[in-house]
Symmetry: C2
Subunit: 177 residues, 2 copies
Amino acid sequence: MDIIKRITLLLAVIAMLTGVVALTGPTSGQTAGEAAPIFVTEIPAGYREWRFISVAHEEGNLNSFASVLGNDIAVRAYREGKLPFPDGAIIAALHYRFVPSAENNKAFGRDQSFVAGAPTNVQFMVKDSKKYAATGGWGFGHFNSDGKPVDDSFMKTCFPCHQKVKERDLVFTRYAP
Amino acid sequence: MDIIKRITLLLAVIAMLTGVVALTGPTSGQTAGEAAPIFVTEIPAGYREWRFISVAHEEGNLNSFASVLGNDIAVRAYREGKLPFPDGAIIAALHYRFVPSAENNKAFGRDQSFVAGAPTNVQFMVKDSKKYAATGGWGFGHFNSDGKPVDDSFMKTCFPCHQKVKERDLVFTRYAP
């Protein structure tokens, strides 16, 4: 991968996780005969009721909190250590701003507490090995806090990054016991 | 509150949230005629299946991630903005070490990612206005990762700290949308 592609990918990941979709640069092109990736264009119903998988925090430009939730199929697969995830599994990453909590700090008597601020975006990975065959069996989705999906040029950056954890079926998040 | 009590309380809070229960200092004494506080001595069943309320991070000695979950009664009250919480509401705070993720950092190409490490403890607030009348209607519980509750002298520090958010029925955590 040349340096321009590397930078483009990094910017795309940052934009994706911050909910700032300002990417207009080149993305890896579609070559002849390659299946077109398909993205998740509707927010899966009821995801806010799903079970807890784990939490994460990104520093720097992202400055985000993530809470990762899963539907029954995803959570069962996680608990059973089942890979690849079966069709029907859906993983949701709810992103919020990472903000200091003045009231918690006051209770602690020191500045040390951070809580979830405004929601920024929700991302989904939907497993359907036929529909999303071009992207490892996973459909990727990203919806900003206004509920709108982001454009395809942006979405094309998901799969290349998630391929870095191919041995875990493209899923970065590990289950927190 | 004098300085010794302040320091004792601060140490107790730190110990509570880190799961390190080393507190042996004085705690606020029981005066004649005051009802004895009662603590939660058994882990509420099924809490790992509950719905997501919010996340938090404490820096410094705590170095913790918290995922806060609620049973149906608690989550409904949160969503409806109902205060005080009704009897039967239970809130769980699952604590983990706050650790860097080498594999996420590798994917990002920079050191910025933190994930849930080893679980340290789970804390509960159980609403029962009669049983826990002496502590604002809430029973407090703290179970280290071995599943064992901590001793009463330690548990006596919960209520005084939570009283700092009396206007929110002693609950620090706000609901993340």
